[in-house]
Symmetry: C2
Subunit: 309 residues, 2 copies
């Protein structure tokens, strides 16, 4: 099944036969004190800059969150979305746990957005899903409910199914529901990664909906987060993940996603991979990848062969 | 099922509930002209150095190959194995397509080795499997046969099953057969990676044997091979891979394997990950991982918490 999101003029398709869709995570004041203070004060310069930088780094969509304690979240979220739309032309993921903020975001967003998110709690389903239906949006369902976040893969799957069924009841098509299988920090919950992968695979195979996950939470509290997040995304893609809310400016993450696209057969003739590697090398950017002399020779050869062919 | 390999004094266990077993690939003259010339001339200095360096970098076992055109492969392979055993104490993978060389290797190896490899060709099965049985070794079965290497996952799986069945017929227990699902270059065969992952998963679920793969072939002809190989291994582990023949000296590969171990629940309390990241940082080795100031702060905090706890 394919989920279609739209900005004013562009559309993005999320699906198992497509490259992984990258949803830029940076426009989020959680844990970013300066950004939070600026947004609360009506200064959106950093929002603008982060929007542009993420799209330049390869984000296909942008998540916009305005969860600032004691602030007018609906007004700020709506304003941030307008600002983002004024500088980049990609579909938006409206990110809030406050229904009024989702409504405010939906009222200003252009095209067909993603709403991030609804949980499996009855009260949330009943307040959020009608909004999705009314605005013709797509929604991310997070597989936890009144009982909290279960460590049992079977329970996670059951909650995911409950959300999909509820959406169908509200007249929202299966294609417009994405499930977030909910990633727990690997440092806190041993084996959580593998369990999440199995849930992701079951959701794809048995529910036939697309999946999305945030890839930062998994490395919480651990060193070397870039490598950890990159590896986790690759492992999730290998189990059917179709979209990720992540930071495309982190080279390791971007490279892991692009390499995974190659292996999934979603990068025809490896054109995207070869091009990105070539640019990275010509800029002398060797941070996330120890490009050896041999590898550079190979890149040159691949390029020559391409030019010759 | 668990496969146990032994050196003179140490044993290594390959299995789905264990960290990925790394089999060092470097002692192989294929594509290493200087090493080939030295080995043919009876100079094993580089073999010695490569053995030590790979074990220091985290190899649990070492693959030894002496496939040099026009040279006396059985004699050189036996000598190389003796040399390796004299400097490191890890189980050996005896790597040759020549039966006489496998015999020579088996006659000098200490402990219980892995034999790399047998194909699904009748003539190979009948010449190699009796040797495995006689020496009580374990064997890698490669899923191709008389008809060549199929791109069809079902055919690959059928060949794997044929090898396991043949081994059982010869009295070799299931635990002593590992299947190599055979990785094709991603640049040459689009979607080959995903197909190989599905075969790996089926082999684990339906045949109940361990799997092993070489992780270098997949990036053949492409630039950025370190990232490509690292990502591929992570994706294979996420589908049940239990061992890899690879280069532990490549930091990106080593880090991807260690991160995957964390997610599979095979690195209790992330001790191996945290330790390795800390060492890497204290040595100022920031090659394969852009370690930010924030990440280093977190590493220090994790360490403090560990010391406090």
């Amino acid at each position: 099944v394919e989920t279609i999101l739209e900005s004013k003029t562009k559309s993005v398709v999320i699906g198992p036969d497509r490259p992984l869709v990258i949803i830029g995570e940076r426009i989020n004041p959680t844990g970013r004190k300066q950004l939070a203070a600026e947004m609360a004060a009506g200064n959106y310069d950093r929002v603008r800059a982060d929007a542009i930088a993420q799209v330049e780094a390869g984000a296909h969509m942008l998540d916009v969150n305005a969860g600032i304690p004691m602030a007018d979240e609906p007004a700020i979220l709506a304003e941030a979305i307008k600002i983002v739309q004024s500088v980049v032309d990609v579909p938006i993921s409206i990110d809030s746990s406050v229904v009024a903020a989702l409504e405010a975001g939906l009222s200003v967003v252009e095209g067909k957005p993603l709403v991030n998110s609804v949980t499996g709690e009855e009260e949330r389903l009943e307040s959020v899903l009608p909004l999705i239906k009314k605005h013709g949006a797509a929604v991310i369902g997070i597989s936890n409910d009144e009982t909290g976040i279960s460590h049992e893969p079977d329970v996670r799957f059951a909650v995911a199914k409950k959300i999909v069924d509820a959406a169908l009841d509200f007249g929202i098509p299966r294609a417009d529901v994405l499930i977030d299988p909910l990633v727990m920090p690997a440092g806190a919950v041993p084996g959580a990664g593998w369990a999440t992968m199995q849930v992701t695979r079951r959701i794809r195979e048995e529910l036939g909906v697309n999946t999305v996950c945030g890839a930062s939470n998994v490395s919480f509290g651990l060193p070397g987060r870039g490598s950890l997040n990159a590896t986790f995304l690759a492992m999730m893609i290998a189990n059917g993940l179709t979209a990720a809310i992540t930071n495309p400016n982190e080279l390791e993450i971007k490279r892991a996603i692009m390499a995974a696209d190659v292996y999934m057969g979603h990068d025809e003739n490896c054109v995207a991979w070869i091009t990105a590697t070539r640019v990275s090398e010509s800029e002398g950017d060797r941070g996330g990848d120890r490009v050896s002399r041999r590898q550079r020779r190979e890149a040159r050869r691949a390029r020559r062969e391409k030019l010759d062919g």
